[in-house]
């Protein structure tokens, strides 16, 4: 009966809920992303975007609701789901004591990419993100932007059907942002790759997304094409529409000890 609801979407989410103790981070969210589409998840800090992505990518158990990613349930068939997607996480996820090439190699082997394909794709992707010449440098010597580009190259290494991008362009210059979004769009158009992304750059979302969903305080409050969202809130830009929908107040984000350490680390780096 539940299976019936999965009417062909590459990602299907129904009544998804995540509770942390007494706090409801994700509150009955439902949406569907058709194959080959680029879907943007927008929302203020702490709205539940990252939590939703974690549940879609087998990293976090939902409290209730149903998910289908590439036709599989992350809870029951995690490995099938894992094979289907690539992800760029919001926080760093590289091994800084390895070189860029080693990080790529590690990923390729874990995902079972055959050796000839691995060699070819690693070179192609590192060239694309402009890191081929620096491939043998340790990641700890990379700048923030270079690390981000490496993570994006790595996420694409196993030619995933679905790409999750959680604020992928944070801290990147406009040239790199354009370059990467251009590539993502090409992959989506040419290879039919489905993309689900989050961003705080509204101009990006406006340009790249086929469809957008706005989440606030765990609830999905609007959904539609960028044009329809602007139209509905009668605003000229997506940014104005976004603020009209989610209000002007600045949100707090609960910080865990891990977040604290990451923050401290980031500050030290500067």
């Amino acid at each position: 009966m539940i299976q019936k609801k999965y009417n062909g979407g590459m990602i299907e989410v129904r009544d998804l809920v995540k509770d942390y103790g007494g706090f409801r981070a994700v509150d009955h969210i439902s949406f569907s992303v058709a194959p080959g589409k680029i879907f943007g998840l927008l929302g203020p800090n702490g709205a539940g975007k990252t939590t939703t992505i974690k549940m879609l990518t087998t990293a976090l158990e939902p409290s209730s609701g149903s998910i289908s990613v590439a036709g599989h349930d992350p809870r029951r068939e995690p490995d099938q789901v894992r094979r289907a997607f690539g992800i760029v996480f919001q926080d760093p996820s590289l091994d800084e004591d390895l070189t860029a090439a080693e990080n790529m190699e590690f990923h390729g082997v874990l995902y079972g990419v055959s050796q000839p394909a691995r060699r070819e794709r690693i070179e192609g992707l590192l060239r694309f993100v402009g890191l081929w010449e620096r491939r043998d440098a340790f990641v700890k010597q990379y700048s923030g932007g270079m690390k981000r580009r490496l993570e994006i190259a790595r996420a694409l290494l196993h030619s995933p059907k679905i790409l999750f991008l959680d604020e992928p362009t944070l801290g990147l210059d406009p040239q790199t942002r354009n370059h990467i979004w251009g590539y993502v769009r090409d992959q989506s158009r040419v290879n039919g790759m489905t993309v689900l992304f989050t961003t705080h750059y509204m101009d990006e979302a406006d340009k790249i997304a086929d469809e957008l969903a706005v989440i606030d305080q765990g609830k999905l409050i609007a959904q539609g094409t960028p044009a329809s969202l602007k139209e509905r809130s009668m605003k000229a830009s997506l940014e104005e529409a976004f603020i009209a929908m989610t209000g002007h107040s600045i949100r707090d984000e609960e910080g865990t000890s891990v977040d604290q350490i990451r923050l401290t680390r980031r500050l030290w780096r500067r």
Partner: protein
């Protein structure tokens, strides 16, 4: 299989590149070797008529294995904090393989540290019998390393930051070393101490090493290896269970 290999390789590379860690692991046993080995030597000689250095060295070889292995397991906490763990957690690889790869890698570097320590012991006068039993020594070193890498991994699976690390080292690992047969002969120890040593995995490791190096032993290599082997199986099962429950 490939996943296991690449996870193993990562642990080994990280360790091999960190000279500070390789040298640091030797720093702890050296004072024991020199201060106790030479300081207690004459007394031991008078009491038992044998060399204390001969007696002590297997324990000193076990020490860096113990500490390096636990630390390599605990390293999982860094991976959690610095984000790399996410990369392995969303990969289509069975959790048992991830845990095994990590533990094998950690155990390998720990055994390497053990060999370096052995060379130091030999340099200051330890004379192991290098016969067929040497293979037994390698086996025992690996079993000690696997056990403690498993313990470290199991603990790291359930804690989220390194603040508990001194607690684990000072209240678990250091006492396990001291309340084993590493520093004193078990037979001549008072009852409670002897009982404690008997329950301690380290004792079986050191006992096995003593026999393999041609020294006096208590249980015998076969028993030592069997006990450690069983413990390794249990701790790996526990570690992979706890690891598979990690959510990020």
């Amino acid at each position: 299989m490939n996943a296991l290999y690449i996870l193993w390789l990562r642990q080994v590379k990280r360790h091999a590149r960190s000279r500070a860690r390789m040298i640091g692991a030797l720093g702890q046993p050296l004072p024991f070797l020199f201060a106790m080995g030479f300081g207690f030597g004459p007394i031991f000689q008078k009491a038992r008529g044998t060399s204390y250095l001969q007696f002590l060295s297997p324990g000193i070889v076990a020490m860096p294995i113990l500490f390096t292995a636990v630390f390599s397991g605990i390293e999982l906490v860094w991976d959690k904090q610095f984000g790399f763990l996410k990369e392995t957690l969303v990969a289509p690889v069975p959790r048992l393989q991830i845990v095994l790869g990590r533990i094998l890698g950690g155990a390998t570097v720990a055994v390497v540290q053990g060999f370096i320590m052995l060379a130091v012991c030999v340099a200051v006068g330890f004379r192991p019998v290098l016969g067929a039993a040497f293979a037994g020594a390698v086996l025992i070193m690996f079993l000690i390393a696997l056990f403690f890498a498993g313990v470290g991994t199991a603990i790291a699976s359930i804690v989220d930051d390194m603040q508990g690390f001194p607690l684990i080292m000072n209240f678990l690992v250091v006492p396990m070393f001291f309340f084993s047969n590493a520093l004193f002969p078990m037979q001549s120890a008072p009852g409670p101490l002897q009982a404690l040593a008997r329950l301690n995995p380290v004792t079986y490791g050191v006992d096995g090493l003593r026999e393999a190096f041609g020294g006096p032993f208590h249980f015998g290599l076969g028993t030592d290896a069997a006990v450690l082997g069983a413990l390794v199986a249990c701790v790996i099962a526990l570690a992979s269970r706890l690891f598979s429950k990690i959510q990020i």
